[in-house]
């Protein structure tokens, strides 16, 4: 099927298209440079056209999500929608059911969403949920930062075997890249403890976060994986944690990058939670300045926001000790899920409120980060969904970024507590993002960060993943129309995925299966085999499942989108 998307105002930062009126043509799911006369015309004259959104970090499928749904029916009862002829029923607000997750991303014009934390032992569960989520491609990031085999290889300084292990485990779990969460700290949580800073060793292991981060980064670059290591540093959400964040990204500066597409060697995720100054929640202030300053001066790091949206939500992370701290702070129901040999995790519901000084400061810090980092290619829009807020609030975050007027209004009208203005520099930042910047932080940048050469842009040969929004950039000033921006980005005029129209006028018109996106490293097979043989005695003795039953069998990852990576040794 051929299509021509006519006369839209196109923003495609990877191809440096900045608001040009032009046609976008696609055929058989790919962007092409010409189509025949019989092509179907979709008239989008003067409307905003962008590549479909790419989300760098969201928790949308897997055991944590499922636990959240199971223990929070009060959340599931929000956002209920009956079935239609095309869609199934929807439930949930911060932790929507799988079908609702797919529909909602699709309605916002998203095409690819990364599931940011997968315990390898339960990767099958994550893939089962992906099967139940429609309309978006989903790469997954298996957790490596507290894996016992990783800790051992790092302790021995054996980077080559570590690389082979990572390569094998990406195949076994059908994973895309390497995720670290509170390295060594989640292992310490196995004993109800935590580590502080990157040089505090995990109990009994004598390995530090610094060593794990560097080891996995070296392995990642040895394999030449499309994405860099994806790091949730130690000390998340603790006042005075910004030095840990700086140490984490700074310890990476001499690691050599082995990828032509991406620029970074470390992706710092949900940075908002990692930029606090002060010593307690009483004297906490923004720690954005030193972190933003560092990122402005160095090119080996990218970040995503983790923007607080001031909603009632559900926090969930593999950072087990942090969730217990949160439980002690709020007293709300605490769930925990430790995974043998691999990781910890926890959940606590959380009610962010603009009346609360700390939450308001957190809100300000996320925006402050995005507005003080000069190069938008280093910034990605996230809410660490559902931790700082559910992903359906992205349009609202976009409206905040595009309008200083709206931000000032919120601070002046007491929609947020005065701490937002007093303890951060947000009130002094009058920068407004334009549509090109928004396209960069929600499409182009994320796809570059992940090394997706085939998506996040509208060049010839790219996947025909396109979003059209009901805004006319040439007759519209987003800086004074926040509500209209939010409305438009939340209800795409068209969402096109692989050349098929899935959303029209904000409603789902077609449902397709999501693809499981994973990295298949080529050229490390012998090393993988040797390393698997080497670790098998330990595997058999300390896991409670057989290796044969551990892996994600192919039928759990269909339909799949496999990227073959040529490892350069």
């Amino acid at each position: 099927m051929e299509y021509i998307l006519k006369n839209g105002i196109v923003y495609d930062p990877i191809n440096e298209v900045n608001g040009e009126k032009k046609d976008v043509m696609f055929k058989d799911g790919k962007i092409v440079d010409n189509v025949s006369d019989s092509a179907k015309v979709l008239d989008v004259t003067d409307k905003l056209v962008m590549p479909a959104g790419v989300d760098v970090h969201c928790h949308l499928a897997g055991p944590k999500l499922c636990l959240g749904r199971l223990y929070r029916p009060e959340d599931e009862r929000r956002g209920v929608k009956p079935k239609t002829d095309i869609t199934r029923a929807e439930t949930g607000f911060s932790i929507p059911s799988c079908p609702a997750t797919g529909y909602r991303y699709s309605r916002m014009g998203y095409g690819t969403v990364v599931e940011a934390a997968v315990p390898p032992l339960e990767a099958k569960h994550t893939h089962e949920e992906i099967i139940a989520i429609p309309n978006i491609d989903i790469p997954t990031l298996p957790l490596f930062g507290n894996n016992w085999f990783v800790l051992q290889f790092v302790k021995e300084g054996n980077i080559e075997d570590l690389a082979a292990f990572v390569s094998a485990w990406l195949k076994i779990t059908k994973g895309y890249g390497v995720k670290l969460v509170n390295p060594c700290g989640s292992e310490a949580w196995g004993w109800g403890m935590n580590v502080h800073g990157i040089d505090d060793p995990a109990p009994y292991w004598d390995v530090t976060a610094r060593e794990v981060i560097r080891g996995l980064a070296e392995a990642n670059e040895m394999l030449g994986l499309p994405h860099s290591i994806h790091v949730h540093p130690n000390d998340l959400g603790h006042p005075g944690n910004f030095p840990t964040t700086l140490n984490t990204i700074d310890c990476m500066k001499d690691i050599k990058k082995n990828s032509e597409y991406r620029n970074q060697t470390i992706h710092l995720t949900h940075a908002q939670f990692h930029c606090y100054d002060g010593t307690s929640w009483r004297d906490v202030t923004s720690g954005v300045e030193p972190v933003a300053d560092y990122i402005n001066k160095h090119d080996h790091v990218t970040m995503d926001m983790g923007q607080v949206t001031l909603d009632e939500t559900t926090t969930m992370t593999a950072d087990g000790p942090m969730e217990y701290d949160l439980y002690e702070l709020t007293g709300l129901k605490w769930a925990n899920k430790d995974i043998e040999l691999e990781t910890a995790s926890g959940l606590v519901p959380f009610i962010y409120s603009g009346r609360n000084p700390v939450h308001s400061l957190q809100w300000a810090i996320g925006l402050e980060l995005a507005l003080t980092i000069k190069d938008t290619w280093k910034v990605a829009l996230t809410t660490d969904s559902p931790n700082a807020g559910p992903f359906i609030r992205y349009p609202r975050v976009i409206s905040w970024l595009m309008s200083n007027q709206r931000r000032m209004e919120m601070m002046d009208n007491k929609e947020v507590h005065s701490w937002a203005a007093r303890k951060s520099s947000l009130a002094t930042l009058d920068r407004d993002y334009d549509f090109y910047d928004i396209a960069t932080i929600t499409r182009a940048g994320p796809s570059k960060i992940y090394g997706f050469e085939d998506r996040g842009h509208l060049g010839v040969g790219a996947l025909a993943d396109i979003a059209v929004y009901d805004l006319e950039p040439n007759n519209f000033d987003p800086s004074i129309n926040a509500a209209a921006v939010e409305q438009a980005f939340g209800n795409a005029l068209y969402t096109i995925k692989d050349g098929e129209v899935l959303v029209k006028d904000g409603e789902i018109v077609k449902v397709v299966s999501s693809r499981h996106v994973w990295s298949n490293v080529q050229g490390f097979e012998d090393e993988e085999k040797r390393v698997i043989e080497q670790i098998m005695p330990m595997f058999n003795k300390y896991y409670t499942v057989k290796f044969e039953n551990y892996k994600v069998h192919d039928h759990y990852a269909e339909p799949s989108c496999e990227y073959k990576i040529n490892a350069s040794k």
């Binding site: 599931e76 059911s97 799988c98 609702a100």
Partner: protein, 446 residues
């Protein structure tokens, strides 16, 4: 039990099969197969092995329907499926119950059928660990996978459950006996505790047995929590236990390095029901202020947890989900099976991989006598006596591969070892057939 000679007469061994009995889902079974029959099972406990080997016993092999005389007689698959589809399509309040002993793959078309006709879908949790889920929704859920206990635990507590009889390999494979990374000497490195009014087989093995009085569980756990918070107990004996024992136990629990609490239906079904679980969970949460504690419910069927997980990710609610309004509703006491039957609401009852005839209260079963019952199962049981249409399925994990979730939510791909009887059909196939036939009837009547 005398000595039995090892079985040497077999054609092949199928390794690493997953046991389709209890929620332990041991995935290390080796099935010895001869002439398409499992003649021996290595590594399994007696419960698992006998279920797998004596599978032919009372096996449902052909589709059956009840005739005018009230007798079940053999019919063609077509006839039985059409009749079942007709019943479902024309019902007003259909109720689809069971699912805990079949695969996730069979649940998928089952849910689709539920959504199509606006039925209620529910599983065995409604009569077993339902109170646990309610408690979890009240206060939280500090869990782990079983390997965490194997590798780290130095104190293991069982209460309201007797794994030596009900989950026979639980102690030997996961919690107490195996040598773990940080517990190199296995059993010798751990303290095993049982809180139970009965001197059960698990209690006999334990280092400490706390026989609180029947229905004394809430009071007993409450006392531990009080001591933990620094309170002084005012009675000499609480729930039948001398207070000095409670002080001593609390001290031990506080000073352990990694503790794990396992509880079963003995806790969910005594007087205080979900409040028992509330307080047990809160105890574990309190203990985490001092050291590391986790807990886990002892789930019964091998995929009872799987259904709750499946429904949660598909539709947001774990069990007892009503679709009659076109969107899912979950109201305990309103949309749960026993209540629907007691109120005589359901007008067609589909039961798959469950035996309500044996397990439901008689009031609920009396309503089943009055309405059409469609049974999908592999064995003849009390439910078959109530059934009007019987559709013989296959044995997941032995005859058919499929996905299940262990009690600690670890997903497993269960292999098949032998071929099913020719006259039987896979659960997934049967449910998909019903779905397609109901769709046709609905379309025709539009």
């Amino acid at each position: 039990m005398g000595y039995e000679e090892p079985v040497t007469d077999y054609d092949k061994i199928v390794e690493n099969c997953t046991c389709a009995f209890c929620g332990s889902n041991c995935d290390d079974l080796d099935c010895l197969v001869k002439d398409n029959h499992v003649v021996a099972v290595r590594h399994a406990c007696r419960l698992g092995a006998s279920k797998i080997m004596e599978d032919e016993d009372q096996r449902l092999k052909v589709p059956m329907m009840r005739n005018e005389n009230g007798e079940l007689v053999e019919v063609e698959w077509e006839t039985a499926l059409d009749a079942a589809a007709e019943l479902i399509a024309n019902s007003v309040r259909p109720l689809f119950y069971g699912w805990s002993e079949t695969s996730i793959e069979a649940m998928k078309p089952g849910l689709e059928l539920t959504e199509l006709v606006g039925a209620v879908i529910d599983n065995q949790a409604t009569i077993c660990h339902g109170p646990t889920v309610q408690a979890v929704q009240n206060v939280g859920y500090p869990l782990m996978t079983l390997g965490e206990v194997k590798n780290r635990a130095d104190m293991v507590v069982y209460t309201g459950s007797n794994p030596m009889n009900a989950h026979p390999r639980h102690l030997s494979r996961y919690t107490t006996f195996p040598k773990g990374w940080f517990r190199k000497r296995g059993r010798y490195d751990r303290t095993l505790v049982t809180w139970d009014p009965k001197y059960s087989d698990t209690a006999k093995l334990s280092d400490i047995w706390i026989p609180f009085e029947e229905n004394g569980d809430y009071e007993f756990v409450n006392a531990i929590r009080a001591v933990l918070k620094g309170k002084k107990l005012k009675k000499d004996v609480i729930a039948g236990i001398p207070t000095e024992d409670i002080y001593e136990l609390t001290e031990k629990m506080k000073n352990t390095q990694f503790g794990a609490l396992f509880f079963g239906l003995g806790l969910t079904h005594t007087l205080s029901k979900q409040r028992n679980i509330d307080i047990a969970i809160q105890l574990v949460q309190d203990l985490n202020k001092y050291t590391k504690w986790v807990l886990l419910p002892m789930r019964g069927h091998f995929n009872v947890n799987g259904f709750n997980i499946f429904m949660s990710y598909e539709m947001g609610f774990p069990y007892g989900v009503d679709f009659c309004r076109g969107y899912p509703r979950y109201m305990i006491g309103e949309t749960t099976t026993i209540d629907l039957l007691n109120r005589k609401e359901a007008d067609v009852f589909l039961v798959i991989a469950a035996d309500p005839g044996a397990h439901f209260p008689s009031g609920a079963n009396m309503h089943l006598v009055d309405i059409p019952v469609i049974q999908i199962d592999i064995h003849w049981g009390p439910t078959t006596e109530l059934a009007d249409i019987v559709l013989p399925g296959t044995f997941i994990g032995v005859e058919t591969a499929g996905t299940s979730y262990r009690m600690d939510s670890v997903p497993l791909n269960m292999k098949k070892a032998i071929d099913p009887p020719e006259t039987c059909r896979e659960d997934e196939w049967i449910v998909t057939e019903l779905l397609n036939r109901v769709k046709k009837i609905k379309e025709a009547s539009k």
